[in-house]
């Protein structure tokens, strides 16, 4: 009825507008053209525009979307693009130290040296130096060795053919085994057993695993034998015990004398060595010795780093150090010269090919890649520092020039390195290590760069551009908001629609479900889920999906409740009765006639919900349980500078990002508020 009337009025309006042209703008008071007829959408729009806060919110949102979705198109940097910089940094160029431990080199591969002897070498040599001895006899598991001094800081280890001749001192001689179980005594072969010894043993009191027992005025010791009940009986004898043929009285006289002085001795043109073994001295006859290894403090410095330096030359040079002069290795002649503390090796043409020094100089990485000249300069400088007892020194040496732009070493046209005289500093640490430092241009990730023209908000701890990440972060934050709200609305409309339309038990069940979901504490659940995904090491993208799904599932209850309420009241209205009467399908009735009527409320709830979702997402990301690196979101960005020192140091990172979150959420809320007032003016007036 009213529509019909409206058509008539419009007709009249058209006529009168024609008349207006004729009558030069004279319009009657009751003319329809004086009443502006607006479509419902325009009406809402007009009311919305009247709300200043809502308009401001809308403008902010438009800007934010442009910033987040269009901004990256025009901004030169990506969200996961590292930035690097070249910086002059004082670096540890190399390290030098006086060598204190002897290193061994094999002279004769054919001779196997007992590992025990090798390990003890350092302490043995140091003991020799302390005692002022030039030669020492050592016993290894597989025979006797001698250590001989070749020159200062060079010692040779020789394996000697030695023979155990005799032992001098108080020995224990095994008399036999007494079995406590069977109470029998079985004498060892070749031992004289006093008479009645076995009977005395039976009566003797022998307890524990070892001890002494006196039989017939003689003291015997016993010790637990191979079996638990067995006791080995020992007889103590003082004197010389020969292991092979006797040597005679003269030998014994010299030996007794030597034992008192604890010194090695010579007899009959042969050398004998004493080795203390408990109460006894074992006497070894030394045969000819063969040099097996050479031990030295000297480190080798090659002149030509590229060239292989044969080990044999080094070993031969060391062996020749005592005599000096010429030596042969690998069929060639070499010369060895002594220069103060150092040994210089020259080849047959008298060219210096290497030297050996007591100070080792290595690159800081431990590699031996330093130039010979620099090494010599460092060694000389350290010797000079030591002689004047200064801890710091400085010298100038040419090292490869680096490009100030790229940090790479620079070559000239001929492909040679360009060398610059640079200052090098030597500093002696308390541990006796000399650190050589110099300024070098190096290439590194530009972390926490301050605000500048190239980086509007600087860079973060990973060397990413903060401004680029702010834009990409906004993208994800807004996207998460949209997806989650969309999910909530879909679920809410379906559930609420079903509950409201069907009523009865459907309504009953769904509303109980809504009550349950209202009651579930969502933030803890999301945190638990985040921790769990941490355990599972989920990739950032699937992780994001899971988070959005969870947020949607936890949030639909409010929408459902609202939709149900609206539908309950709409269901009773005349148009729905008419729709039912005309026999329209149920699904059409719900989705075409009911839902569009709930649309205004849905839009309002969606807008307001968006802000809430963005807040939740950023909170989760801030806790490190939401969106993960390298994806950027606003929450993650604040999280990356959330420890105490970073808060103080990098406010230019977290303050803008935090404000962006706040502004976006405020804008969503303003727009939502404005929309609600525009759709339903009664709520305000």
């Amino acid at each position: 009825m009213s529509k019909y009337l409206y058509d008539a009025l419009l007709k009249k309006k058209r006529e009168s507008s024609g008349a207006e042209q004729n009558n030069n703008g004279e319009v009657a008071l009751d003319d329809i053209s004086r009443v502006k007829v607006l479509s419902p959408a325009r009406k809402v729009f007009k009311r919305f525009m009247r709300n200043r806060l809502a308009v401001v919110g809308a403008i902010i949102l438009i800007c934010m979307f442009a910033f987040a979705f269009l901004g990256p198109l025009f901004y030169p940097y990506e969200q996961d693009q590292h930035f690097y910089k070249y910086d002059t940094q004082t670096i540890n160029y190399s390290q030098a130290k006086r060598i204190v431990n002897y290193t061994g080199y094999k002279v004769d591969d054919g001779i196997k040296v007992d590992s025990e002897v090798e390990t003890m070498m350092n302490s043995n040599v140091k003991g020799m130096i302390a005692d002022g001895v030039e030669s020492k006899f050592v016993l290894g598991a597989d025979g006797a060795y001698t250590i001989d001094k070749i020159a200062d800081s060079i010692y040779s280890l020789s394996k000697a053919d030695s023979k155990l001749i005799c032992s001098a001192g108080v020995h224990s001689v095994k008399l036999g085994v007494y079995s406590r179980g069977t109470k029998t005594f079985s004498p060892a072969p070749g031992e004289d057993i006093p008479e009645g010894f076995e009977d005395s043993l039976k009566n003797a009191k022998m307890t524990g695993s070892e001890g002494t027992v006196v039989i017939g005025g003689v003291e015997y010791t016993y010790k637990r034998g191979a079996q638990k009940t067995d006791l080995d009986i020992f007889h103590r004898v003082e004197g010389i015990l020969y292991h092979s043929g006797e040597k005679g009285g003269d030998f014994e006289a010299v030996l007794t004398d030597s034992v008192e002085n604890e010194k090695d001795f010579e007899f009959g043109g042969k050398t004998y060595s004493l080795v203390q073994n408990g109460d006894v001295f074992d006497v070894y006859e030394l045969g000819s010795a063969k040099v097996a290894m050479v031990y030295t403090l000297y480190a080798l410095n090659k002149v030509d780093l590229e060239k292989e330096f044969p080990d044999e030359v080094r070993v031969k040079a060391l062996l020749a150090a005592g005599k000096g002069g010429e030596f042969k290795a690998e069929g060639k002649t070499y010369y060895l010269e002594k220069d103060e503390d150092d040994l210089i090796i020259k080849d047959s043409g008298k060219n210096v090919i290497a030297d050996m020094s007591l100070i080792s100089v290595r690159r800081y990485s431990g590699q031996d890649t330093m130039e010979y000249g620099l090494k010599r300069t460092v060694i000389k400088k350290i010797e000079e520092m030591d002689s004047t007892d200064t801890r710091e020194g400085k010298f100038v040496y040419a090292i490869p020039r680096q490009d100030t732009e790229t940090g790479q070493v620079v070559y000239d046209e001929d492909g040679k390195l360009v060398m610059d005289d640079s200052d090098l500093y030597i500093n002696r640490s308390d541990t006796g290590v000399y650190n050589i430092t110099c300024d070098q241009i190096i290439f590194l990730i530009d972390t926490y760069a301050p605000v500048s023209g190239t980086h509007i908000l600087g860079t973060d701890g990973d060397g990413y551009d903060v401004f680029a990440r702010v834009m990409y972060g906004g993208r994800i934050s807004l996207l998460v908001g949209f997806v989650v709200v969309f999910l909530e609305i879909i679920l809410g409309v379906i559930m609420g629609g079903l509950a409201g339309y069907y009523g009865k038990w459907v309504d009953m069940i769904i509303m109980r479900l809504v009550d349950i979901f209202y009651c579930i504490p969502s933030l803890p659940i999301l945190i638990i889920l985040g921790v769990l995904m941490d355990y599972q090491r989920l990739d950032p993208i699937p992780r994001l999906m899971v988070m959005m799904a969870t947020l949607g599932i936890l949030g639909w209850a409010g929408v459902a409740r609202m939709v149900r309420g609206q539908i309950l009241s709409l269901r009773e209205q005349e148009f729905m009765v008419a729709a039912e009467a005309t026999g329209i399908k149920v699904s059409t009735r719900i989705f075409k006639h009911l839902i569009p009527n709930v649309m205004p409320q849905l839009i309002v709830i969606a807008t307001m919900g968006m802000g809430g979702v963005i807040l939740t997402e950023s909170t989760l990301s801030f806790l490190g349980l939401g969106v993960k690196h390298p994806l950027a979101t606003w929450g993650t960005m604040i999280n990356s500078v959330s420890d105490q020192t970073s808060i103080a140091k990098y406010p230019y990172i977290w303050i803008p990002v935090g404000l962006l979150i706040c502004i976006t959420v405020v804008a969503f809320n303003f727009v939502g508020d404005g929309l609600r007032d525009a759709y339903d003016p009664r709520s305000k007036k």
Binding site: C519, I520, P524, L615, T619, C662, V665, V666, K684
Partner: protein
């Protein structure tokens, strides 16, 4: 009234039953979940007396996880109802003891902010409604909206930056100063109070906006009602109209919501407490969640659900008590 209350309580228990079931289901169905991790952790400890499998079986039995969801849930429910909530894995104390040690800090923090929230938000809301569309109104709207939209963690960081780092008025986090031991009794109290200032301000700002808007909306509704117009038409002084007729009616919805939020004072502020290292229940539960402490998490979630339901119940009952027009059935 009594009948209604009993009905509501029974209904709440039913809801709680299902909520806990969903939470239990979540814990139960998590793949490669907490329990395996925990068993692995326990088994790898140097003084562990059991193997991984033994720990796993033990823990599964303890939480009824070896039985099937429904049966397992009833096992857990049975032991929880009889007061046996187990020992917290993170705090190595009975869950109830952890609860006792922490909840009072949360409550003090919550209660202080609650009082300040009321003192600030309600007068502001009323003032805004009185001058609708005036400057105060706009200011209050924008301010309350910012408060609502402020992410807690950002606000907390901002407060720390300004008051702890720049001005150095307060300490950045924690509950006690370094020289706490040497302080007198009153000094100790002041010291702890000073540490509670920033968290309390955070909570107040976060919650103030919602209450202010709610007050304003309700006040506007009342101011637009017929009896106010009548009162004004009769020449009642504006002051009396606002303070006597309008305000008292605005109180009805306010009291019900505020009453409903009372149980929430015990629930703790997870983010704020964590950021300021206040050892309240929120902080404790966050640590438990991070370290997969099932007994405490289950307890905390159950506790939160109970508080929510209790809040709804109180709110509904208060509605009937405060507003004589409402008759519950």
């Amino acid at each position: 009234m009594l009948k209604y209350t009993i009905k509501r309580i029974l209904y709440s228990v039913l809801i709680l039953f299902f909520v806990m079931f969903i939470i239990y289901l979540l814990m139960y169905s998590l793949p490669g979940g907490y329990i395996q991790t925990r068993a692995q952790e326990l088994a790898s400890k140097p003084n562990s007396t059991k193997s991984y499998q033994e720990w796993l079986d033990f823990l599964n039995a303890q939480y009824g996880m070896d039985k099937g969801v429904v049966q397992g849930y009833f096992t857990w429910l049975g032991s929880a109802a009889s007061g046996n909530l187990g020992d917290s894995w993170v705090w190595t104390l009975p869950v109830t003891e952890v609860f006792h040690n922490t909840v009072w800090y949360s409550f003090i923090l919550g209660a202080v902010s609650f009082v300040f929230e009321i003192i600030i938000a309600i007068p502001l809301g009323i003032k805004a409604a009185k001058n609708q569309y005036g400057f105060t109104d706009y200011f209050a709207s924008v301010f309350s909206m910012i408060c609502i939209s402020m992410p807690t963690f950002f606000l907390a960081t901002l407060l720390k930056y300004v008051f702890a780092i720049k001005l150095e008025w307060f300490e950045i986090s924690g509950m006690k100063s370094r020289d706490y031991i040497n302080l007198s009794e009153f000094g100790k109290f002041l010291d702890v109070a000073a540490h509670f200032v920033l968290p309390a301000i955070t909570l107040i700002i976060i919650s103030i906006g919602g209450l202010m808007r709610y007050t304003r909306t309700n006040m506007l509704e009342v101011l637009n009602s017929d009896y106010i117009r009548t009162a004004r038409a009769k020449g009642v002084p504006e002051k009396k109209v606002i303070n006597y007729h309008a305000f008292r009616n605005t109180l009805v919805p306010l009291v019900t919501t505020l009453g409903g939020s009372l149980p929430g004072l015990f629930s703790g502020a997870l983010i704020t407490e964590t950021l300021f290292a206040i050892r309240g229940i929120g902080h404790a539960s966050y640590q438990s969640m991070l370290q997969a402490d099932i007994p405490f998490i289950m307890f905390y979630l159950a506790f939160l659900s109970i508080l929510t339901l209790l809040g709804n119940l109180i709110s509904d009952l208060l509605y009937a008590v405060v507003d004589p027009r409402v008759r519950l059935s």
